[in-house]
C-alpha cells in the first residue's frame, strides 16, 4: 500500500532522514521504533507532505506522494494523527471530528461516520459538546484518532500516541490501536515505547539517527538482544 524508497529529508541544512526505505501492506500494522530524535516524527511528516523529501520515491497505492500537495495527501487515503494529539483546543469534540471530515469525499458520509466513531468511542459521544482542550490526555488521544477516522482512510499514521500519557492510559491507547486494527484499518505507528508497541504490530523497523538499522517481524525484534538491551531496558 505505502512504499518508501531511498527517502532523504531534513530541515534546511540539517538532514534528518538518510536513504529510508519501508513498505506497509494492506491490513498490516507496522511500527517504526527508535529513540528520541531518531527521525520518527520527521518520517511521518514527510509522508504527510508537511516536510518535503529531497530524494527518493514515495507512493501510496501507486500514487506518487512526492508530487501531491500536502493538503491533498489525505485524499490518497492517508490520515495522520499528529504528535501530542494536536486537537483544536477551543473547538468542541464534535467540531474536531467535523474537521476530520472536511474533504468533499468525507462530507457526504459525515453522519454515518460520526455514528461509527461514537460507537467505537462512546466516551467521545458523552463529551461531544465539550471543548477538546479540556479533556484528559487519554480522551484527547481518542478524539484525535476519531478525527483521523472521519475521513474514511485506508492507512492511519499514528505519531507517538503514548507520549506524555500516564502508564495506565498508555495501555488504554494501545488497546485503541488494536481496536482500529481489528476494524480493518492499516496502521503505521511510530513509537518510543518499544515493548508495548511490539505487542500490537506485525512488523517493525528500527530507526536510528535517520537510518533504518533493522527490520523484521515484531516477534523477531522483540526477541533480539540488541533491541532488548537498548530499547527495552533489559
Amino acid at each position: 500500500m505505502l512504499e518508501l524508497n531511498g527517502i532523504d529529508a531534513g530541515y534546511g541544512a540539517f538532514q534528518a532522514l538518510f536513504n529510508v526505505s519501508l513498505n506497509v501492506k494492506a491490513g498490516e500494522a507496522i511500527a517504526v521504533i527508535g529513540a528520541n530524535g531518531a527521525g520518527k516524527t520527521t518520517l511521518l511528516r514527510v509522508i504527510s507532505g508537511l516536510i518535503p523529501a529531497t530524494r527518493g520515491t514515495m507512493t501510496m497505492e501507486g500514487a506518487n506522494l512526492r508530487v501531491t500537495a500536502p493538503h491533498r495527501i489525505i485524499e490518497t487515503g492517508i490520515a495522520h494523527v499528529p504528535e501530542s494529539r494536536r486537537l483544536f483546543p477551543r473547538l468542541t469534540v464534535e467540531d474536531n471530528l467535523r474537521m476530520g471530515a472536511f474533504i468533499p469525499g468525507a462530507r457526504s458520509k459525515y453522519a454515518e461516520r460520526l455514528d461509527y466513531v461514537y460507537s467505537l468511542f462512546p466516551r467521545l459521544k458523552e463529551r461531544r459538546l465539550q471543548s477538546a482542550g479540556t479533556m484528559s490526555g487519554g480522551e484527547q488521544q481518542m478524539c484525535a484518532i476519531g478525527r483521523a477516522l472521519m475521513s474514511g482512510p485506508k492507512l492511519v499514521l499514528l505519531d507517538e500516541p503514548s507520549m506524555g500519557l500516564a502508564p495506565v492510559i498508555v495501555s488504554q491507547v494501545f488497546d485503541l490501536v488494536r481496536r482500529i486494527r481489528s476494524e480493518g484499518y492499516t496502521v503505521l505507528i511510530v513509537e518510543q515505547n518499544v515493548s508495548q508497541v511490539l505487542r500490537v504490530v506485525d512488523r517493525a523497523y528500527l530507526l536510528e539517527v535517520g537510518k533504518i538499522h533493522a527490520s523484521g517481524s515484531a516477534v523477531e525484534l522483540a526477541a533480539s538482544d540488541e533491541i532488548r538491551k537498548a530499547y527495552m531496558g533489559i
Binding site: 507532505g49 500537495a69 493538503h71 489525505i74 485524499e75 499528529p82 483544536f88 473547538l91 472536511f102 474533504i103
Partner: protein
C-alpha cells in the same frame, strides 16, 4: 452644556445603541481577519469607503438599492481577498509591524486614488427614509434599519462559522495552522476566504453607512481609529468582546455628544479607552496576547 436626565438623554442613549449596531458590524470584520490571520488591516475603513463609492455609483447608475448594496458587498469582498493576496501574503511571515505598515500604505493609496477619481466633494446617496417618533423621541428609520441589518449580519456570520465546514475550518486555523493540511485544508485558500468574508462584512457595513452618512475620500479617518479602538477594547480577535465594546463606546459618544460638542463625545470615548486599557491592556475580554 446640556445634560439632564430627561427624554433627550434617553434619546441619546437609544441612539447610541443604534449606532453601536453599525460599529459592531464594522468591528466584526476586523476582528475576524485578526483572529484568524493575525493581521490588522489599518486600511479597513478605506475598504468601507470604496464600498460606499461603489454602492453610490451603482445606485445613481440606475440599480435599485438592494442590488447596489449587493454589488457593494461583493466588491469589497473581492477587494479584501485581493488585499490579502497581493499585499499581505508577501509579509505574512515577517514582523507584525510590517503588516500594519503595508496596510498603512494601502490606506494612503486608497484615499489618494479616491480623491483623484471622485473629487473631494461630499456625495450623498439621497435616500431618505424619514423617522419614527415614540414618546417625544425621534429616531431615524435608516438608523433603525442599519441596526437591524447589522444584527442580522452578525447572526449570519455566527451561523456560518458554527455550522459550515468552511466556517469551522476558519475557526480551526486560528487555533492550529500547521496541522490544517492533515485535514485536507489548504491554508492559503482559507485565508483568502476569511479575507473575502472580512471584506464582505465591510461591504455590508458600507451599504448601511451610505444610508446615514455622506461619502468623501477621507471618511475613513473619521471612523477608522474608532473601530480599532473598539476592537482593542473588546480584545483584539474577540468578536463578542468587540460587540460589547462597541456598545460601551457608543454610549460615551452619544451621551458625550448630546451634552457637549460632538468632538468631546469622541474625545471622552477615546479617553475612556485609554484609561480602560491602562487597567486591562488585553482589552476588556482580551483573548489573544
Amino acid at each position: 452644556m446640556d445634560c439632564q436626565l430627561d427624554i433627550f438623554f434617553l434619546e441619546a442613549v437609544l441612539n447610541g445603541i443604534l449606532l453601536a449596531g453599525l460599529l459592531a458590524l464594522l468591528a466584526l470584520g476586523l476582528n475576524l481577519v485578526f483572529g484568524v490571520i493575525d493581521v490588522v488591516w489599518i486600511c479597513y475603513a478605506e475598504l468601507v469607503m470604496v464600498g460606499m463609492y461603489g454602492i453610490y455609483f451603482a445606485y445613481k447608475g440606475g440599480a435599485p438599492f438592494i442590488l447596489a448594496a449587493l454589488f457593494g458587498i461583493i466588491l469589497v469582498a473581492l477587494a479584501g481577498a485581493a488585499l490579502h493576496y497581493v499585499v499581505i501574503r508577501p509579509v505574512l511571515d515577517s514582523e507584525p509591524i510590517n503588516q500594519l505598515l503595508v496596510t498603512g500604505g494601502v490606506l494612503f493609496f486608497l484615499q489618494a486614488v479616491a480623491t483623484m477619481a471622485f473629487g473631494v466633494e461630499f456625495k450623498n446617496i439621497g435616500i431618505s427614509l424619514g423617522s419614527v417618533s415614540a414618546f417625544d423621541m425621534s429616531f431615524s428609520k435608516s438608523r433603525i434599519l442599519s441596526f437591524t441589518i447589522a444584527l442580522i449580519g452578525m447572526l449570519a456570520l455566527w451561523l456560518f462559522l458554527k455550522k459550515t465546514y468552511l466556517g469551522t475550518a476558519i475557526r480551526a486555523i486560528a487555533q492550529d495552522r500547521q496541522i490544517m493540511p492533515l485535514m485536507g485544508v489548504d491554508s492559503k485558500k482559507i485565508y483568502l476566504v476569511t479575507s473575502a468574508v472580512g471584506g464582505g462584512l465591510a461591504g455590508l457595513a458600507a451599504s448601511l453607512m451610505v444610508l446615514n452618512y455622506d461619502i468623501y475620500p477621507q471618511i475613513g479617518l473619521q471612523f477608522g481609529p474608532l473601530i480599532f479602538m473598539i476592537c482593542v477594547l473588546g480584545g483584539l480577535g474577540n468578536m463578542i468582546g468587540g460587540f460589547v465594546a462597541s456598545f460601551i463606546i457608543c454610549q460615551f459618544i452619544a451621551v458625550g455628544s448630546s451634552c457637549f460638542h460632538t468632538e468631546w463625545g469622541y474625545a471622552i470615548a477615546f479617553l475612556f479607552f485609554i484609561i480602560a486599557i491602562f487597567f486591562k491592556p488585553q482589552g476588556l475580554f482580551g483573548a489573544k496576547s
